[in-house]
Amino acid sequence: MSAAHTDSPPALVVDNLRKTYRNGVEALKGVSLTVQPGDFFALLGPNGAGKSTLIGILSSLVNSTGGDARVFGVSVNRQRSEAMKLIGLVPQEINFNQFEKPFDICINEAGFYGIPRKLAAERAEKYLKELRLWDKAFQQAREMSGGMKRRLMIARAMMNEPRLLILDEPTAGVDIEIRRSMWHFITGINAAGTTVILTTHYLEEAESLCRNIAIIDHGTIIENTSMKRLLATLDVETFVLDLTATPAELPTVAGISLHRTDERTLEAEMARKQDLNTLFTALTNSGITVHSMRTKTNRLEELFVRLVEHGRREPGRERVA
């Protein structure tokens, strides 16, 4: 967090937010969380957990049925217009007029925020260039690829230069190269002081980008802590070892569970505090040569699955660190 934000109110305070839809579905059951200024915050959860409802309320597309949210101290319920000036939203679904040109889409978006046309044109050029869309700026948006459309929504969300940028699965269905360029852009604006809230199903994305995390399931926050602290709770790790030859026999190593998944592949499940030398010594003594090694699953993914499954066994449990 930058020093400039020390005296600022939190970027976002969600206070006992509730939403029950007309069909009786209780999408949010009293959600509370806080995001500090300058944070890069992950909001994770399985499909239907309540992420989009929460984002919908923050962006005023969904009316809450209880509680409130404050953006830099400004109430979304009571001071909607002032709160919206502080937020930029990149929604999950493509939601611009595909018959318009990207430049016009950006200019119009700025106009909706009261930004004069001349300044809007400067910003549109700046952000379309930064997101490598300038060469498409004056073609119809429908002619762009899926990845370009997603980048256009980021450029559009930047037109009011928000203090809080909310990205709802911005990289869904985007190839890795474009995804990386989007990460680069988003980390850049975060470094420049913009608070970022990210929802994603790519958990390695959340792990590598975000400093703090909340996991929501069935309309309840089941975890809210720092990424570092959360990952530290993972006490067991599984490694996949590719061997140069088929082993005749597997060694027995205290505290490490070894099993073969195919002729030349082993999986070793071990406590995180245990050193790898013990494993390699045992393998070397057994005449087994390791060609390469990798972790079996993304660490955050493993934790996410555990937390969600655990939360479902204990409905209504809420843990906020």
Binding site: N95, N97, F112, Y113
Partner: protein, 258 residues
């Protein structure tokens, strides 16, 4: 100069609407000209020549021109706003405005300005076409202008409300087909209600389009079946009622926010 957020937003919506009308001019401006030209040829020239004078010294062609101009204005302002706003809902681009700090009145006014602009441009083009078929002297230009403007606003507001409630494209075609078209044909476009017997003449007074057509006809020809002052009161009352209804729908987020 400090520029108000809402004024810039209003300008943006209105400009976008007008750009849209011009971008698809073959769909927005040309078809009504063709339709009205056919009306002038068939009703004005072919049938009208056998009708003779109506309401004094006016040829039937002269008599129906104000009605047909108002009819094209009503239809085009209604269709413009209902298709554009429902299209924005369908593509979800309406969310661009809903998440912005702009006020509901700015959204509504921007769309209404776009619809009125299309209505008035089409009306002017229809009037120009009419001059190929007959001569017209504008009796009261300001009253004529006020009548078409208020008529366009009324049907723009009605089209907006239709689009708010619409959940599929069929829904924005229902009202023009089953409500506006019958009311237009029965609203004194082609005849004077003085030609009707009771109770049809009295019933005709319940048709809001009658007041618009006659206010405009008074502005162009100087004749009207109804009190012109009364017609403006009716139109202003409709505008007030429809504006309040549209703003209330936006405030509650009906069809727009969950």
């Amino acid at each position: 100069m400090i520029r108000s957020t809402n004024l810039v937003a209003l300008y943006t919506v209105a400009r976008r609407e007008i750009v849209r009308i011009l971008r698809i001019w073959t769909q927005t401006l040309i078809p009504p000209i063709i339709t009205m030209t056919l009306y002038f040829i068939i009703f004005g020239k072919l049938i009208g020549s056998r009708i003779g004078k109506i309401e004094g010294d006016f040829s039937y062609m002269q008599y129906i021109v104000p009605g047909l101009v108002m009819m094209s204005i009503i239809n085009n302002s209604y269709m413009n706003i209902s298709s554009s706003f429902y299209g924005a809902k369908f593509q979800r681009s309406v969310e661009e405005m809903l998440v912005a700090p702009m006020a509901n009145w700015a959204i509504l006014s921007g769309y209404v300005i776009g619809a009125v602009a299309r209505g008035l441009v089409v009306g002017a083009l229809v009037l120009l076409v009419a001059l190929f078929f007959t001569s017209l002297q504008v009796a009261h230009p300001l009253i004529a202008l006020a009548a078409v403007t208020l008529g366009a606003i009324i049907f723009a507001l009605a089209g907006f409300i239709n689009a708010v409630f619409a959940t599929k494209f069929d829904d924005i075609a229902l009202v023009p087909t089953f409500v506006i078209t019958p009311l237009t044909y029965l609203g004194g476009v082609f005849y004077s209600i003085n030609m009707l017997g009771e109770p049809w003449r009295a019933i005709s007074h319940a048709n809001p389009i009658l007041y618009m057509v006659n206010a405009f006809r008074y502005g162009i020809l100087g004749i009207s079946d109804v009190s012109v002052g009364g017609a403006f009161v009716v139109m202003l009352a409709f505008i007030a009622g429809l504006t309040m209804a549209a703003l209330q729908l936006l405030r509650r987020g009906v069809g727009l926010r969950s």
